[in-house]
Assembly symmetry: C2
Homo-oligomer: 324 residues x 2
């Protein structure tokens, strides 16, 4: 894992050195603020690692890695407006600290800056890199729109949900790895395998998020257990339960979702009991493992030495053994 940590540090440092024009300050200060709020820098580090896997030079991939991180932060800046999220990584979100207009326009500039950083990789691969980036960027917007649409929709299927998390978060992980592979001059097949590795791992990660929200160790999850249940959030767990529940179980579940007399604690307890009756935790874990195994099989298919791929498998294992 040493290599990942080194890349994370490199990305973190380089982000601080992105020279931002200072005028108008109203436009650029929020960008600097946002990029300095922290973040795990996983996506750009994996991009660098994928480039390295195929023998590419670090300096050829760094700008693209930064582009992915700037793009990701652009989506967060606009999402926070749409989701009315007052906090981002424990600090005020940009729209809350400044205002909505500032968050819109500074976000727009970040999206353009991401393209600028990508375009600096003035290689023959530029149009290939832009193709996967643009496709992914549109998908991320589609995912956010589906997520918002779901809030008011009464007919969200498991397939809809899986598609949404794939678009909203998983494809960007796949895209990061694929751009690294393209810059590292991987074959088309290998670039696609590493994309599928990232995408499937991303979906598995999101499903794990859903499971941990209710079944995680409260001491380790670091937030209130059952937050999704309290908010009636359409997670994999709830959607699966709604798909399977019949008779009294269905009636009880509907009651929990619509009751205004249940306090939060009782609601979480009752819903957990119903989920357990329906074996939801196991079903969600099975689904998660399906995506995880698909990810690993794509990693296995990459035509390079197993020992070189070990760092990716370790990363995937670590990700799935997390408890928060």
């Amino acid at each position: 894992m040493q290599k990942i940590l080194r890349y994370i540090a490199l990305v973190d440092d380089s982000l601080k050195n992105i020279v931002l024009k200072k005028e108008p300050a109203t436009l650029y200060e929020p960008i600097t603020y946002m990029l300095n709020l922290g973040g795990k820098r996983i996506r750009p580090a994996l991009l660098m690692l994928a480039n390295n896997l195929f023998g590419g030079k670090d300096e050829d991939a760094l700008n693209s890695a930064l582009a992915i991180e700037v793009f990701h932060n652009f989506t967060l800046m606009h999402d926070d407006i749409m989701d009315e999220a007052p906090l981002r990584r424990g600090s005020q979100s940009v729209y809350k600290k400044w205002n909505t207009n500032v968050a819109i326009l500074s976000g727009d500039v970040m999206l353009i800056q991401a393209i600028q950083l990508l375009s600096k990789e003035n290689t023959t691969a530029l149009s290939e890199v832009l193709e996967i980036f643009n496709t992914t960027a549109v998908q991320v917007c589609e995912g956010q729109q589906f997520d918002m649409d779901f809030e008011t929709s009464s007919a969200v299927s498991i397939d809809d949900y899986l598609k949404m998390i794939e678009l909203k978060t998983a494809v960007l992980l796949g895209c990061s790895l694929k751009i690294g592979a393209i810059i590292g001059n991987a074959t088309k097949e290998d670039a696609n395998h590493i994309y599928e590795f990232g995408k499937n791992l991303g979906i598995a990660f999101q499903l794990m998020d859903d499971v941990l929200d209710l079944y995680g160790d409260p001491k380790k999850v670091g937030k209130r257990v059952g937050g999704d249940v309290i908010a009636n959030k359409k997670t994999y767990l709830l959607l699966k339960a709604q798909e399977l529940a019949t008779g009294k179980t269905k009636k009880d579940l509907d009651f929990c979702l619509s009751s205004s007399v249940l306090d939060d604690k009782s609601k979480v307890e009752k819903v957990t009991t119903l989920f357990n009756e329906l074996n939801i935790k196991q079903l969600a874990t099975d689904e998660m493992n399906l995506f995880y195994n698909t990810a690993i099989s794509h990693l296995d298919s990459i035509n390079t030495l197993t020992e070189k791929k070990q760092v990716f498998e370790n990363f995937a294992k670590n990700l799935m053994s997390r408890e928060n």
Copy 2:
């Protein structure tokens, strides 16, 4: 002018045929709506014309022309949120017809679609095209931010104002022409000359807008004469008057700007009298002509037959002889 009209029609038709993914509809319907609201399609038509001037093929420039129009409409969609503009081209603006979140996210997708269209020009010029496009896109955002900042600033100079209109609107005209030139394989010098032609013409056009708002023939302007004066809008006219006014004229001007007893008609009359005392119309026209002449001198410097450039000169003349 026949050629321009043909390109305008081509762009208009092609925009209708941009196949938009249908799901989620909440994301794509506003884009189709926005692109079908009309618009003069001047920028994309000039891009095609510049490409043609240097001997490029129409089919090599069409996607870039569409990219410029999609980008322009993205800026309008986001600007309407920020400016709280309920109407766009006589119809409801997107944020008003749907909501702010829809206008943010659909706008984001349009910005990415613009890059996608540009990237389809898979020529050796791609990185050159992207460089001028990205630089311009950031400048347009900066211009919008300066414009918003000016509303609450008490110290806007003429230079600040000229910089703002250059960034907010003029550079995109220059950029459109330059991209056409690059695709048409123009020399660097010629590409820069046509950029400067467009940029300077764009500034002259904006200054004319300011003059016509107060001094245009009300029958021809098609809107209330003096709208900018009534709104205390910091136009070239007002900023120049504030720069020059002293003594009683300054006092009278300040009174007009801050009085709550003056009705709109009297305010426009009084301010016009003060502007006339200060010779503002002439000074604004002189400034406008300065930029216009600079534009024409760059056109003259382009290394090609004068008769081939005639269409650009005619276009510029038409633009400046407008009465609305």
